[in-house]
Amino acid sequence: MAKSLLIISRQAPWSGPSAREALDIALAGGAFDLPLGMLFLDDGVFQLAAAQQPDAVQQKNLAANLQALPMFGVEELFACGHSLARRGLDNDALSLPVEVLDNAALTALIARFDQVVTL
């Protein structure tokens, strides 16, 4: 059976290619039909803010690619509740349907996956 991989994305969306390159790992794995999950943690939750206009800083829209995750078979999407609250983001107004987890649930989530990459 294929090993499951949790990708933890903790970079803000417009601070360089890091957020996109984390997403690319997920999309590439999804194309191979691997069991994947993605967790948005720390500044990574800023990727989920609604109504962002990256064209103002001449960047491609990451949100459009994030929306594609379920189509690539990456259906397990999570966000850290603590990170969202600390950054003043409303759990109900996010651009992606993520499951918001508390600290204990995050510990269990990381334990459940075979491998983890945090970037």
């Binding site: 943690l41 603590h82 995050l106 510990t107 983890v116 945090t118």
Partner: protein
């Protein structure tokens, strides 16, 4: 499944250590290397956070990085590279906070 968490960023002005301690499971271990070893500087906030986390035998630090920085290790067990390799095998997976 147990996780070996690895951090290599200074805990001063960086969120990795705090987030890692928040998510660390009861069987998980933490290895500090590079600038993350500055968390072992006694009398500092990161040091207090490590003490409060009470990791006991589950806190490790890379020997060369302590030596390079003139840090001693009251809290962490010191490992060299062969022991680092063994640590990765004693846990089910490795989560490096890149």
């Amino acid at each position: 499944m147990t996780t070996l968490h690895v951090i290599a960023h200074s805990p001063f002005g960086d969120e990795r250590l705090a987030s890692c301690l928040r998510l660390l499971g009861p069987q998980d271990a933490l290895l500090l290397c590079g600038d993350a070893t500055y968390a072992l500087q006694a009398g500092t906030e990161p040091f207090a956070a490590l003490q409060a986390a009470n990791l006991g035998e589950r806190l490790f630090a890379l020997a060369e990085d302590l030596q390079a920085r003139a840090l001693d290790s009251q809290l962490a067990k010191v490992v060299d590279y062969p022991a680092f390799v063994e640590l990765t095998l004693h846990h089910d997976k490795v989560n490096s906070w890149l």
